[in-house]
């Protein structure tokens, strides 16, 4: 008895103490509380523009508004000439290409395929006035549109097909007296409507974010952080943090989660070690397009069909157009589970001068670089937009169609529904060789998902990735994922070893039993 007590005191108690000490002590998430406090403070502007003398007047020329802004903000005009919202191209180094100057100005996509010859309508979203064609003057500071970003009344409208000019006869007096720090609706005016409609392009940026709950977006939700875009996409001299890899290529100037949350934000160290290889977004954005649908597929090859000689449209039960004579077939989806790719923050783009590889299953409009062995790479959630768009089967280049015009009969596809003419006009505008033949090629475009971050309680759980079947990482290669990765040889040998052990034991036991019975019979006989 005494020795049992001694044993418990000398062995069991120390063991228990060691085990208890080794457990992680629980802490409060102080950083998160500090961030909440910091970002819940309302922004108090330092200037009341309604008190400025220069703004006590009506305007009818938008350039004049810009000039008035510049009359006080004297250096901002020049500054804007270097802002990507105005230049629509950026200097980037791309592995294999060298230094490039790429952006919306000269890149392709697989939505409306590109701005060429359609500038007057596409460039409604240019932060400038009059970007109607390739002759736009990017060096004139009075071509900058200040209001689209700084109007705080929420009423400023740019004209459809107006090349960036505003709808005339707006109440510019009120608008200019209420300019300030950009709000969600300023950024959303363009960024929610990429691809020609709400949430068409990005899937994680849409009008619902103006009124959404924190379940939809924990940062921007009105009952959550109610944060503005510019809280994260901070700017220095109008150059903003944030990259959209449909047009960007470099791993710089990115807006990151880490800039607020640090690289080790979890109290659980097991989760923190995941940060080395898993982007925050992967677990914290379990799905996107949580409110309105986003376009997942766009097949231009079926555009041009008529019903009773007229263009027509078909809609799904949510009201999304699944067929339009002017745009072809489309597929839409809500609550989309992202696809996952290794990504190191650098990307390449298929240029209008690049050659189409017809042996490939599909053409990558943009390529996200990254692989498991690259220490800079992490696994990111990506919206993959798949499409079919015209290319030249002779010259093997992607073709650009003229889609839009102010009047019918000038070759615009959306008005005349004539591919032959539309492609001819588009390529003539670009002044690039065109054989006159066209076909359609399957394309994919990769858009990393960064918004619609869910509350932590709805982040992915371990088994969402660590599982054999249907795990989120099912198609992610190059790394050992416990619970997912198996090697048939190891498991087969292992199971065989166990089966042989069991069989051996059973056989041995049976022979033992039989010989025991025999021995008994011998003795009794």
């Amino acid at each position: 008895m005494k020795n049992t007590v001694t044993f418990i005191l000398s062995v069991v108690v120390p063991l228990i103490i060691i085990t208890v000490v080794l457990r992680d002590a629980s802490q409060d998430n102080k950083l998160l509380a500090e961030l909440r406090e910091e970002y819940s403070k309302p922004h108090i502007p330092s200037v009341d523009h309604s008190k400025h003398e220069a703004l006590q007047r009506d305007f009818d020329n938008p350039h004049e508004i810009t000039a008035t802004c510049i009359s006080c903000h004297t250096e901002r005009g020049q500054e804007l000439l270097n802002s990507f919202h105005f230049t629509w191209e950026r200097e980037d180094y791309i592995e294999g290409r060298g230094v490039t100057y790429l952006g919306k100005r000269n890149l392709l996509n697989n939505f409306c395929t590109g701005i060429f010859s359609n500038e007057a309508t596409c460039n409604r979203c240019h932060a400038g006035y009059g970007y109607e064609d390739k002759n736009f003057d990017f060096t004139n500071q009075y071509n900058v549109d200040c209001l689209v970003c700084h109007d705080n009344t929420g009423s400023y409208e740019k004209l459809r097909g107006g090349a960036g000019y505003p709808v005339p006869d707006q109440d510019f007096r009120t608008i200019v007296q209420n300019v300030g720090r950009p709000t969600k609706s300023n950024c959303g005016y363009c960024h929610f409507h990429g691809g020609g409609g709400n949430n068409v392009k990005h899937g994680d940026l849409e009008e619902a974010l103006l009124t959404a709950s924190r379940q939809v977006d924990v940062h921007m939700g009105v009952d959550g952080g109610n944060m503005d875009c510019v809280d994260c996409h901070t700017a220095t001299n109008h150059v903003m943090k944030g990259r959209y890899y449909g047009v960007s290529s470099a791993n710089t100037r990115r807006a990151t989660c880490e800039q607020c949350h640090t690289a080790a934000p979890h109290l659980d160290q097991m989760l923190n070690t995941h940060v080395a290889k898993i982007a925050c977004q992967t677990c914290h954005i379990p799905e996107y397009a949580k409110v309105n649908a986003t376009k997942m597929y766009w097949d231009w090859s079926t555009a041009g069909e008529l019903e009773d000689g007229r263009a027509f449209e078909l809609y799904d039960d949510q009201g999304n157009p699944i067929y339009q004579s002017i745009k072809g077939d489309a597929a839409w989806q809500t609550n989309v589970v992202p696809e996952y790719f290794w990504f190191n923050g650098t990307a390449d783009h298929f240029l209008i001068s690049d050659k189409v590889d017809t042996t490939a299953a599909f053409l990558r409009i943009n390529t996200l670089f990254g692989e498991a062995s690259d220490p800079e790479s992490r696994i990111y959630p990506v919206k993959v937009h798949r499409g079919r768009q015209p290319y030249d089967p002779v010259y093997l280049t992607i073709l650009q169609a003229k889609l839009w015009d102010r009047e019918a009969g000038r070759g615009a596809l959306w008005l005349d529904l004539d591919w032959e003419r539309a492609l001819e006009e588009g390529m003539k505008y670009l002044n690039r060789p065109y054989s006159g033949q066209w076909d359609f090629v399957d394309t994919e475009m990769y858009l990393p998902v960064n918004h619609m971050v869910s509350p932590a309680s709805e982040a992915l759980q371990c088994q969402d990735c660590h599982s054999r079947e249907n795990g989120r990482m099912h198609f992610v290669e190059g790394t050992y994922i416990p619970g997912k990765t198996t090697y048939a040889a190891v498991d087969t040998m292992g199971v065989l070893l166990i089966i042989l052990s069991i069989l051996g034991v059973i056989t041995h036991a049976v022979i033992r039993y039989i010989s025991y019975k025999k021995a008994q019979n011998t003795t009794t006989a």
Binding site: N3, L22, R468, G483, L497, G504
Partner: protein, 243 residues
């Protein structure tokens, strides 16, 4: 003629170690193969947490046990020998079916037959170290430090995880065979009872203290009077002979 005597063969710590280790290996296998993706029982997160806790318990137990082995001299029980190795193997393959006697005698100083010595020693110097080393590498190949995640010079988890998995299969095979072989004592349950109570009826020549060719020092005291023996607490330090 051999005489049977009750001997206090497994001491309290030894039994504590054995059963704690048995429980931990069972728990580690159950949670480990869940982490491996073989089945779902606790849920992945719980399985990982339990596996890591059981791993620490196993490591601490191992440290205590290494200490125990050296302070008591019990480590000598595991010195490998070729003496009777063949006879022992032949016993399991043939003799046991003919009700032949055990070729080696289990005594206080030679608890393990030559096959057991070999198998247990390889567990101690090969399988357990590999499992602990790969397990620690698995836990710490990435670790947080000063707000960052640092990484050991291990490119991928792959090698570590594969070695750890192979070790786990080997251990399971061992446990299966071990569970069966405990029924091959003097009676079906004598080995099991011995590991539970510490006492086992062993064959001994009258008055002769069993000797071992490999264990030079006596590692415990033979209790000559089994009837009275339980009244003396064999674990009591006062009863230990001076070594």
């Amino acid at each position: 003629m051999a005489k049977k005597e009750k001997v206090y063969i497994y001491k309290l710590y030894e039994r504590f170690w054995h059963w704690t280790q048995a429980f931990l290996i069972f728990l580690l296998a159950l949670t480990g193969f869940e982490v491996h993706g073989s089945f779902t029982f606790f849920g992945f997160e719980n399985a990982v947490e339990l596996h890591n806790k059981a791993a620490w318990a196993f490591i601490i137990l191992t440290i205590f046990t290494i200490f125990w082995h050296f302070t008591t001299g019990e480590w000598k029980q595991y010195l490998p020998t070729t003496e009777n190795l063949r006879a022992q193997a032949e016993y399991y393959i043939f003799g046991i079916f003919r009700n032949a006697p055990h070729p080696t005698r289990k005594t206080l100083l030679t608890k393990l037959n030559p096959l057991q010595r070999l198998v247990y020693l390889s567990l101690k110097i090969l399988v357990f170290p590999v499992m602990i080393a790969t397990g620690l590498a698995y836990m710490f190949y990435r670790y947080p430090s000063q707000g960052e995640i640092k990484q050991l010079g291990i490119e991928s988890l792959e090698t570590v995880a594969v070695a750890h998995t192979i070790g786990a299969y080997v251990l399971i095979a061992f446990v299966i065979v071990h569970l069966y072989l405990i029924t091959t004592g003097h009676t079906l349950t004598s080995n099991l009872k011995a590991m539970i109570t510490g006492w086992e009826e062993l064959e001994t020549d009258e008055g002769e203290i069993p000797e071992s060719k490999t264990a030079k020092d006596p590692v415990g005291e033979k209790i000559n009077n089994p009837v009275n023996a339980p009244e003396i607490d064999p674990d009591s330090y006062e009863n230990k002979p001076e070594i």
